[in-house]
């Protein structure tokens, strides 16, 4: 195994990290601001992927996936709005357990709804023409689409940074992460802010689903798979911290890529092991604030 193989594997890990970052950033934002662990986040991701497959089927393969990114994000955001207004809003201030269970019930519901609408077969989505093919990295081919994923993740990260640090909305979200009651006390409509954060997180999950649709099969079960990995990312990074999510995504993505290379049988176990070790040493994750009581 030469240095060129390691470089390719490193890039593959970054690609995985990019996708995980887009998914986990939404999860982390929602948790940070609302203290809601949204188990249905993976379901929104899956919904995005299936919507993307339909958009590509209608719009054709040449450009299909690019509009699908937008349509999937909007569809997931709309569904997220429904969840927030219909379910979560009734459960704020109640026990965490009820919120967890409510979102878990939504996991069950969405899983079957998707099966009802799109069937049980795995679907595949053609990549847009401009993003198919590959570039040469030290003599090995590397898919252009993967570079696109890394670029998109960077763009999302940059956008979120601007949103959080350069806008008044971001300032309110950061305040909500620290103390939502106080934020309400100074006159901000916290419940509307929560709705906005949840819709934003849902939209990111939907867009990530469309991205994932272009790089692999679209199938049932992708909701739980991505959810568990996104959890690992946010927990390692610290719930509520966007830089932490970025670091966590890189750790999990690279661990995944190199784990498959060196210890293929334990690749999946490595992720949970990393998560358990980080939490055992730093119970609030690498960048997380200690849990509010």
């Amino acid at each position: 195994m030469g240095i060129d193989d390691l470089v390719i594997q490193f890039l593959a890990g970054l690609t995985r990290a990019g996708l995980l970052f887009i998914v986990a950033a939404g999860l982390s934002l929602v948790f940070g601001a609302m203290r809601v662990i949204n188990l249905a986040h993976g379901s929104l991701f899956m919904l995005g992927a299936f919507v993307a497959s339909s958009v590509v089927a209608v719009a054709g393969g040449e450009y299909g996936l690019l509009p699908a990114l937008v349509v999937s994000a909007i569809a997931a955001a709309a569904f997220g709005l429904l969840i927030e207004l219909g379910v979560l809003r009734r459960l704020y201030g109640r026990e965490h357990l009820l919120q967890l269970l409510a979102t878990f019930a939504i996991v069950l519901i969405v899983g079957d709804l998707v099966r009802l609408v799109w069937g049980e077969e795995n679907l595949s989505v053609t990549r847009p023409k401009a993003l198919s093919g590959s570039v040469d990295v030290l003599g090995n081919p590397f898919p252009i689409y993967n570079l696109f994923i890394i670029g998109l993740a960077l763009a999302v990260g940059g956008g979120l940074w601007l949103l959080m640090n350069r806008t008044s909305l971001g300032r309110d979200i950061r305040a909500a992460i620290v103390d939502p009651q106080m934020l309400g006390g100074v006159g901000v409509n916290v419940s509307r802010l929560f709705t906005g954060v949840f819709v934003l997180g849902s939209g990111l999950a939907g867009m990530a689903g469309a991205v994932a649709a272009g790089s692999g099969a679209v199938g049932l079960g992708m909701d739980v798979d991505i959810l568990v990995q996104a959890f690992a990312v946010t927990i390692i990074g610290g719930l509520g911290s966007i830089p932490g999510t970025l670091v966590g995504a890189c750790i999990i993505g690279l661990l995944d890529a190199f784990g498959i290379l060196f210890v293929p049988r334990l690749a999946l176990a490595l992720i949970f092991l990393a998560m358990a070790i980080v939490l055992a040493v730093r119970p609030s994750g690498l960048f997380g604030l200690p849990e509010r009581a």
Partner: protein
């Protein structure tokens, strides 16, 4: 008052046994199978409720312990050729050991981080079982486990399940109503105050976690005796939501809540899976409605109704406190404890 409710409690349990024991005389084989499932899930959920209802710990690892019990039976028959029933008492030991070790790590975190950590470790266990082909046969699972001659008929298996699960539930009941159980409730109601009155909170939580894992493993071992198989899907974290929903349906602030919930859940599940292809859709919708409308579960609703009736009947009679009392207290105390902790 206390003596009367204690006596009532015993009358209730004896009546339950009087119905459960002769059940094979009237039920069909398939119905007996369902009844066994109810008893096993009842034990499983009751063990989890030691954490959830009594200590206030939300653990997603309870499917892992169930799986540990199932594989305790499966592995000794597969590798050692021992009779399957040895695995049943053995599961108490394996469940306790694994739960103790997991608790040591997971209880370093509190609240949601604890929940997520239990999810991570239990999923780690799932992956290990799933990928260790040479030990566990991997995702194929262990099937066709042979039972000794005295468990040859469905009714005999059923009685075996009733006897073992009955003892397990009895043991959990003794824990629930013991001073140790009261200490756990104090921790649930306010961790900080519990530590102020001198409770070593983490040690109590670790003990509760170990006990809960132990009896979840016992339930898992009974599952394998009834179904004659153990497979990795039993350990998956999505399975861990099953006992949580059972507790929710039954009501978490009463010891017998999970048993009521198990009856409702198993019957509901069997009807739904028989009637529709989209069972998760229907079950999910039902769970969602319960969470939104009746989070105190069946026992909570029942006690509110009977409490109201009792008040109407005799003014002096002391009505049972509504099951949501603890919840209300929790909410009132939370801001106070938050102020102290920060």
């Amino acid at each position: 008052m206390i003596a009367r409710t204690a006596r009532l409690r015993w009358v209730g349990w004896i009546a339950l046994l009087a119905v459960a024991i002769p059940a094979p005389l009237v039920l069909s084989e398939l119905q007996l199978f369902t009844a066994s499932r109810i008893v096993i899930f009842g034990l499983w959920a009751t063990s989890l409720n030691l954490l959830l209802g009594q200590t206030g710990l939300v653990s997603f690892a309870h499917a892992a312990f169930f799986g540990v019990g199932a594989y305790s039976v499966g592995l000794i028959t597969l590798h050692l050729g021992w009779p399957a029933v040895i695995g049943v008492p053995l599961s108490l030991l394996s469940g306790a050991v694994i739960a103790f070790l997991m608790g040591l790590v997971a209880l370093r975190a509190v609240h949601l981080y604890f929940s997520m950590l239990t999810l991570a470790i239990s999923q780690l266990l799932f992956v290990i079982v799933f990928t260790s082909y040479d030990i566990t046969l991997g995702d194929n699972g262990i099937h066709g486990i042979e039972l000794p001659a005295f468990l040859g008929e469905t009714s005999q298996v059923y009685w075996f399940v009733i006897a073992v699960a009955g003892l397990g539930i009895l043991a959990l009941g003794l824990v629930w109503h013991s001073p140790f159980g009261a200490a756990l409730q104090a921790i649930r109601d306010n961790r900080l105050r519990a530590s102020f009155i001198g409770l070593h909170v983490r040690r109590y939580e670790l003990a509760a976690f170990t006990l809960a894992g132990m009896f979840a493993a016992l339930a898992g071992s009974l599952f394998t005796v009834v179904n004659k198989s153990a497979y990795p899907g039993l350990l998956d974290w999505t399975q861990g939501a099953v006992p949580i929903f059972i507790i929710l349906i039954g009501g978490m602030y009463r010891f017998y809540g999970p048993l009521v919930g198990a009856v409702a859940y198993v019957v509901l599940e069997e009807i739904v899976t028989r009637e529709t292809l989209y069972s998760n859709l229907v079950l999910g919708a039902i769970f969602l409605v319960i969470v939104l409308v009746a989070p105190t579960g069946i026992t909570g609703i029942a006690e509110r109704v009977t409490g109201r009736l009792a008040r109407r009947g005799t003014r002096t009679a002391e009505a049972a406190p509504p099951a949501s009392l603890a919840e209300t207290l929790d909410n009132q105390l939370e801001p106070i404890s938050r102020d102290i902790e920060t």
